[in-house]
């Protein structure tokens, strides 16, 4: 860690638990999260439009839809990849929202989160502005 330095013994143990060997030798580390990601992106939303999202491990990525009924052209293209989709995958958000039979996937826009999509004029461009809503 560059920006934080441990002062008491417990702080050394916390740091060693996060990054084994990060703080000089004290016993008792670690339940470690073994893949350190010291970037703000560690908590970011992952989407297919990013070349390789930081949270995704390298290797094959198999896109999956949300429903058992396959809605062609959305989850995968005809080659099984995501390059040739007729609409960006983020469009799914609004499919569930407007057209889907499963409204629980989006916030209740009538009561709880009326302005949920207020900042999202065009889904392809603005999907990052849609915030997570916790019940």
């Amino acid at each position: 860690m560059k920006h934080l330095s441990p002062v008491n013994d417990k702080a050394r143990r916390v740091m060693n638990a996060i990054e084994p060997g990060a703080a000089p030798a004290q016993a008792g580390a670690s339940l470690a999260d073994a893949s350190p990601k010291s970037s703000a992106e560690a908590g970011d939303v992952v989407a297919l439009q990013q070349p390789r999202a930081p949270q995704q491990p390298p290797g094959p990525h198999i896109p999956l839809g949300c429903a058992t009924i396959f809605s062609p052209g959305w989850e995968v293209d005809r080659t099984g990849g995501t390059a040739g989709l007729c609409q960006p995958v983020e469009r799914d958000l609004f499919d569930c929202h407007f057209g889907c039979y499963w409204p629980a996937q989006v916030p209740d826009q009538l009561n709880h989160a009326p302005t949920w999509t207020g900042k999202c004029a065009a889904a392809q461009k603005d999907w990052r502005k849609i915030d997570l809503i916790f019940p």
Partner: protein
């Protein structure tokens, strides 16, 4: 992008540096300018990553902000807005924790009648005068108690004698100490002894005994004559200062094996921390002085009201400044309350229970009943077995379950819970009628005091970190000269 807000932590400044104290881990970390700027910015209102980068652009590059945010998130000093609260898991010990300290109430009688006393005053729990508990512990019960301690302890056992006025039953001490030493030797265990006394009954024979067995002695005393004589009175109303002062000096002169401490009860009418401290250390020679605000139901004449706790805090802060100055120069200072809190901060203690009562520490009544601590000894409602039959493990497990800090909803959002965990059971019982409640009447005081001690900790950590070696397990304390 998800907005970020301060996590479960307390930010503070010391010696020109910025620090965070994290809950519930009790880790203390120094933070650099970029991290401090991030925390300050989100403290005003939640910011997303992009907003943070924009807000701090004049001072910090985007990469630097990203890194700082990443590190703060990982130690949970930063949290995402609306993230559901993740309570710390409630972990209960699966096997019994060895008994470290047993406090033996050798009598419930006292030759003083301090108006604030929890044992005889208006807030008493146990019927001390005409109850089921005998007035004096017998040799037979003392023997059973020592056997109980050595059966339940680990390699090292601490035996504390308590009262009433402990020395009213010196007879049982004279029996129990050699017996305990012999039994411990047979079992290959170590045992040491301590006692609390009002010092009125100290005499050469007793002083000799305490020195010979290297007792840790704590004397209950409230300060100079005028303050001591406000509450610490004999039954006829006479003050006790003139009797105890020379006896304390005689004890200090003879018993030099272990530091002798004073324990002061602070009331509304005796609230003069610096004067009490100066008198007890300079005039009477105490090595350490610990202060405790009186335990009392609200509204009692001696109780500290709302303003009283603020006043105690202001006076504590003033004296704590002296402790800090001494520590920076590597000198001893006897303000026990700071010393104790710094020790907990240094170790990073994060308590699931406010103290060891009920598992590492148990109180034993004059009849041999085992209770949470000495303050509950003899109370049927807080009984955890008896010295002959052993600890009631079912009652103990239920106690640990119901008193875990995870049960105290009010404590879940408080950054000071690692050191406090809800506070004294006896205080809670007196205030709210149940040991399960957190002591909400002194939350501000605990947070204020913990903040003061964290600042002092930060200053010492910057300028004289070697001072903290004394809190580490391998350290041997220097003896008072």
């Amino acid at each position: 992008m998800i907005a970020l807000q301060p996590g479960d932590c307390h930010a503070f400044e010391a010696a020109g540096r910025r620090f965070v104290y994290l809950a519930p881990s009790a880790a203390v970390m120094a933070i650099d300018d970029a991290s401090a700027a991030v925390l300050d910015t989100v403290a005003a209102r939640p910011h997303s990553r992009d907003e943070l980068v924009a807000a701090l652009a004049a001072r910090h590059a985007a990469d630097e902000v990203d890194e700082a945010v990443g590190e703060l998130v990982r130690v949970r000093a930063l949290a995402r807005v609306e993230m559901p609260h993740r309570p710390a898991p409630k972990v209960l010990p699966l096997t019994p924790i060895p008994l470290a300290t047993m406090v033996m109430n050798v009598t419930n009688q006292c030759n003083l009648s301090c108006a604030y006393c929890y044992e005889y005053g208006e807030d008493k729990i146990v019927q001390t005068e005409n109850g089921t508990q005998p007035k004096w512990m017998s040799e037979e019960t003392a023997r059973a108690s020592v056997d109980f301690l050595l059966r339940e302890s680990g390699r090292v056992a601490h035996l504390t004698f308590f009262g009433g006025e402990t020395l009213l039953n010196f007879k049982v001490l004279k029996f129990a100490v050699p017996y305990a030493k012999a039994r411990a030797a047979e079992l290959g265990k170590e045992i040491d002894f301590s006692l609390t006394t009002n010092a009125t009954l100290l005499k050469p024979e007793i002083i000799e005994f305490l020195a010979e067995h290297n007792f840790g002695v704590t004397i209950s005393i409230d300060g100079p004559r005028d303050l001591q004589n406000k509450f610490r009175l004999f039954h006829n109303g006479a003050g006790s200062y003139d009797l105890v002062a020379p006896k304390i000096k005689a004890l200090m002169a003879r018993h030099r094996g272990r530091p002798i401490g004073a324990r002061v009860t602070l009331t509304r009418e005796t609230l003069d921390v610096r004067r009490i401290y100066e008198h007890l250390t300079s005039e009477l020679g105490f090595w350490e002085v610990g202060f405790a605000p009186v335990t009392s139901a609200p509204g009692r004449a001696h109780a500290l009201g709302e303003g009283g706790f603020d006043e105690v805090l202001a006076q504590f802060r003033d004296l704590a400044g002296d402790y800090r100055d001494a520590a920076l120069e590597g000198r001893h200072h006897g303000f026990g309350n700071v010393h104790e809190t710094l020790g907990e901060i240094h170790k990073g203690a994060s308590k699931a229970w406010p103290c060891g009562a009920g598992f590492g520490l148990l109180g034993v009544s004059t009849a041999g009943d085992v209770a949470l601590c000495h303050r509950f000894a003899g109370s049927d409602d807080h009984k955890l077995g008896d010295v002959r039959g052993g600890i009631d493990r079912t009652a103990q497990a239920a106690f640990l379950d119901t008193h875990h800090v995870a049960n105290k909803t009010d404590c879940q959002t408080c950054w000071a819970r690692p050191v406090c965990a809800g506070g004294c059971y006896h205080e809670a019982h007196t205030r709210y009628g149940t040991t399960e409640r957190p002591n909400l009447h002194y939350c501000e005081w605990i947070r204020g005091w913990t903040d003061t001690c964290l600042r002092i900790y930060g200053e010492i950590a910057e300028a004289n970190p070697g001072f903290f070696r004394q809190f580490e397990a391998t350290y041997e304390a220097p003896q008072p000269s």
